[in-house]
């Protein structure tokens, strides 16, 4: 909930009663909102054109070759997810910054990385011809059947790595700042309130953002492990890939990032929709419990992509079945139902933004039903990888996330200008979006029930008519999207003209009383890196654990263990992970000493760079081409293993430059990444 402010925003376009809890957005918040929102919407529009082209190709209307179809399909997938990710990152930043001092520097860094990644993928597909799908299911990138060169698969992987790293940077900043501002992880997640130890919960967007950040960091780590492994394979064909482990990691990354987009959006909707309903949204105990459940479900549901890989362990299949169904509960009960409670009898202010927010809720509900049906294993057996899947994820990505992306930009512009479009034009636009969108997904649902497989450039005999009808509906949706842009254009012109006349505003504190940004604060205050409160290993218990880990990890250097590990690539990589762990713990210990810490200085940006670059470099060196020639020389061999520990040391020291929780968590993630790498990558002589 946004607290009342000293100089409330004029109600204008918003609900009159929203004046009680809505403050003016500050310059930096508006800048972030527009930067992420406009870039993301532009990307979404471009990728939508590709989608339209693909649907007409399936309807036999374009003459596009399968080679180009699959390039566009690959780009459409990565580009669309990146586009909506950008918008929702901006939306959450926009609503979170007033209550948590997120760092603009990190925001710019994550934006640059994600956009850079999107450009890399664009070049890899359109110029390089890469077309292994947005899931790049290993080992498909290395079986191009003459369709793409090595450089394009490398560039595509680098692009994914950049997008993932950008989101990692964003999530780490969110986690560090929500936990610091709230006074700890359990407070940021609302657990202190849930168990009655505190009278009030944090603001809803703080809880949502903390959950998204944790799951985002976990899944981006898995993504980095597999992408780095595959990058190694591009310059060393001796690298082998365990297809099952790799598939788990790819979907942990890919499914989660696509899924997290909607949870990012939910965090933003909790703040923005109430502004049109005139009722603030407040976190309750059910809300806190629901988001805690989502924390687990988001991280575990990805495995339903492997239902038809019968060799997947049964515990994973059953766990995913449970997680995939019960993930519905928090969404249906807390977000969707509670939002409709806000709207009911509220004298809701219907604008372009608020209408899109509302109809987007329906898309999540209907798409969710399609997804939950498919998440039941006996049903998935008959629907797996048919276009039913395409239908359900387009229902909630297109009819929820894309509509909310438009809604967010519309909300920014409506607030800047205190104007919206005419009711007639708005109704026609919403009509086009609804008829076009549900018509398109409807044709996929029907064709999916018929058994038409997905990702077919050429449709099975007798099923082309579904694509023809679908293409017409897709065109209607595109017209609706265009109509939205046309309505927003005059608002954008007005906003642009007024861009230098806006005020810097308020920064309401957290509802739980952990106010962090003073009211009326100068936005430049945010440019300062926050001080670190304590060291990652600051208690006797921490030190005890660290020493215990060090004692265990030092075994990785014993000659007998090293020799034994070289009988298998997996064990060899596991040994490297042990040496890396040793270095990480030493780094954490050293950096936690006050004298060393003073020497290193307060440089969180350098710390962040170290925890990302050091483990990544180490894994890029863990290819047979690099380490096999060294094994014949004892000194070089020993130095290579010491280098593994040195990478760990740099990582550990870097982690001490972050907040205590952020440092411990990133150190854990770095070690986890080396373990996932060891599990997925095989091949080579040892």
């Amino acid at each position: 909930m946004e607290a009342a402010t000293a100089t409330p925003a004029p109600p204008g376009i918003l609900h009159p009663q929203a004046v009680a809890f809505v403050g003016e957005a500050r310059q930096i918040e508006r800048r972030a909102g527009f930067m992420f929102g406009v870039t993301g919407i532009t990307l979404v529009a471009a990728m939508g054109v590709l989608g339209l082209l693909m649907r007409f190709t399936q309807a036999d209307d374009t003459g596009l070759s399968p080679a180009w179809f699959y390039r566009l399909m690959t780009l459409h997938g990565v580009g669309m997810i990146t586009g909506v990710l950008l918008v929702m990152m901006g939306a959450l930043w926009y609503v979170l910054h007033p209550v948590v001092p997120l760092r603009p520097g990190r925001m710019y860094a994550s934006y640059t990385l994600v956009v850079g990644g999107a450009v890399a993928v664009l070049v890899a597909t359109l110029v390089g011809g890469f077309g292994a799908g947005w899931t790049f299911l290993p080992p498909l990138p290395f079986f191009p059947v003459g369709q793409w060169p090595v450089w394009s698969e490398s560039l595509f992987l680098v692009g994914n790595l950049l997008v993932g790293t950008g989101f990692f940077v964003y999530c780490l900043d969110v986690l560090e700042q929500t936990t610091t501002a709230s006074g700890g992880l359990s407070r940021a997640l609302g657990w202190q309130y849930l168990f009655g130890r505190e009278p009030e919960a944090p603001a809803p967007q703080v809880i949502a953002a903390t959950v998204v950040a944790i799951d985002g960091l976990l899944s981006m780590t898995a993504g980095s492990a597999i992408v780095l492994g595959l990058l190694g394979r591009t310059y060393d064909s001796g690298v082998g890939i365990d297809a099952l482990v790799a598939k788990n990691l790819v979907y942990f990354f890919g499914h989660s990032i696509a899924n997290l987009v909607i949870y990012l959006a939910a965090g933003a909707i909790y703040v923005m929709l109430p502004r049109y309903a005139g009722r603030p949204y407040e976190a309750t105990k059910v809300f806190v419990a629901g988001w805690t459940a989502s924390l687990v479900f988001i991280a575990t549901a990805f495995s339903h992509h492997l239902y038809m890989d019968f060799v997947q362990p049964m515990w994973a299949q059953v766990g995913s079945l449970v997680a995939s169904y019960f993930a519905l509960l928090p969404v249906a009960v807390i977000t969707i139902y509670s939002m409709t409670m806000l709207v009911w009898g509220s004298r809701y202010r219907w604008t372009l933004a608020s209408t899109l927010f509302y109809v987007g809720l329906a898309g999540w509900a209907i798409g969710g039903v399609g997804a939950v049906i498919d998440s039941l294993i006996p049903i998935n057996f008959r629907f797996h990888n048919t276009v039913w899947v395409v239908a359900h994820f387009h229902t909630y990505l297109m009819m929820t996330v894309v509509l909310w992306a438009l809604a967010f930009v519309a909300h920014l512009l409506e607030r800047e200008t205190d104007r919206t479009s005419s009711p007639t034009l708005r109704s026609a636009t919403i009509g086009l979006l609804l008829v076009g969108g549900y018509g398109l997904t409807g044709t996929w649902f029907v064709a999916g029930a018929l058994g038409v497989p997905r990702r077919y450039a050429v449709q099975p005999a007798g099923t082309v008519d579904y694509s023809k009808v679908g293409a017409i509906f897709a065109l209607l949706f595109a017209l609706g999207f265009l109509a939205c842009i046309v309505q927003l254009a005059p608002l954008a012109r007005t906003a642009w003209a007024r861009r230098h006349t806006t005020s810097t505003g308020e920064s309401p504190g957290l509802a739980a009383g952990h106010a962090v940004a003073p009211a009326g604060a100068d936005p430049r205050v945010d440019e300062r890196p926050p001080g670190r409160a304590g060291a990652p290993l600051g208690t006797a218990a921490h030190l005890g654990f660290a020493v215990a880990f060090m004692v265990v990890a030092i075994v990785a250097f014993f000659p007998g263990i090293v020799d034994a590990s070289e009988t298998s690539t997996r064990y060899h990589h596991l040994d490297h992970a042990g040496q890396f762990l040793f270095g990480v713990v030493v780094g954490l210990l050293l950096g936690s000493f006050a004298a060393v810490s003073r020497l290193l200085g307060d440089h969180p940006a350098w710390g962040l760079t170290a925890v990302i670059v050091a483990p990544a470099t180490m894994m890029l060196l863990m290819v047979p081409r690099v380490y096999e020639p060294l094994e014949s020389n004892d000194v070089q061999h020993a130095l290579f293993h010491l280098a593994m520990a040195a990478f760990g040391l740099v990582t550990g020291l870097g982690a001490t430059r972050l907040t205590p929780l952020g440092g411990r968590f990133t150190a854990f993630l770095a070690v986890a990444m080396t373990l996932m790498f060891a599990a997925a990558m095989t091949g080579g002589a040892s």
Binding site: A132, K247, A277, D309, Y337, W344, S346, W350, A362, P453
Partner: protein, 178 residues
């Protein structure tokens, strides 16, 4: 081979349509009510009362459907005794079967693998009904148990994107009269 709707797919599709129409109707009603003026206290009193029941209903449905799902898992279990082993090998862009035909009524255990990338074994009955699917993965063997109850040619399509000719990667498996 032309595709036809199978009975399970028709039932599941029907359930989806009914639930979607109910949800869409609810959103229309709530949207129409949004313009009225109802006190927050009343909305909270009625809304939270209903929310508890909504949560209980969804949880109960979850327990039932997850429980029923666990009773009907497609995964092969137990030994292959009494079953005819059919080795299925996938590659860009072909299917091979050994043997490639069995008499009607044979209890088959399909043993699937791939020589290159991931493929999807999507099996259609001679009448064009999608019976089920399982992945063919390099380095692994996925096993599917099935009783071949119809005489004729069962078609296989690839269900996992595998490259340029993914959409034309077809195969067939014959079930003969006894």
């Amino acid at each position: 081979m032309s595709l036809h709707y199978g009975t399970p797919q028709i039932v599941i599709g029907g359930v989806f349509v009914v639930l979607s129409v109910l949800l869409a109707s609810a959103f229309v009603v709530i949207g129409l009510q949004a313009g009225t003026d109802v006190s927050v206290e009343r909305v909270h009193r009625v809304g939270y009362w209903l929310r508890k029941r909504w949560l209980a209903l969804l949880a109960a449905i979850g327990v039932v459907v997850v429980g029923l799902s666990l009773l009907d898992l497609p995964y092969a279990s137990g030994g292959a005794s009494g079953r005819t082993m059919v080795t299925v090998t996938a590659g860009q862009f072909f299917w091979t079967f050994a043997p490639d035909r069995v008499p009607v009524g044979t209890r088959v255990r399909f043993d699937l693998t791939s020589v290159d990338v991931n493929h999807g074994f999507v099996l259609y009955s001679p009448r064009g009904h999608l019976l089920g699917s399982v992945q063919a993965m390099p380095g692994y063997h996925n096993q599917l148990d099935l009783t071949m109850s119809q005489v004729g040619i069962y078609r296989i399509r690839c269900g996992e994107y595998c490259g340029l000719n993914h959409s034309t990667m077809d195969g067939s498996f014959t079930v003969t009269r006894r």
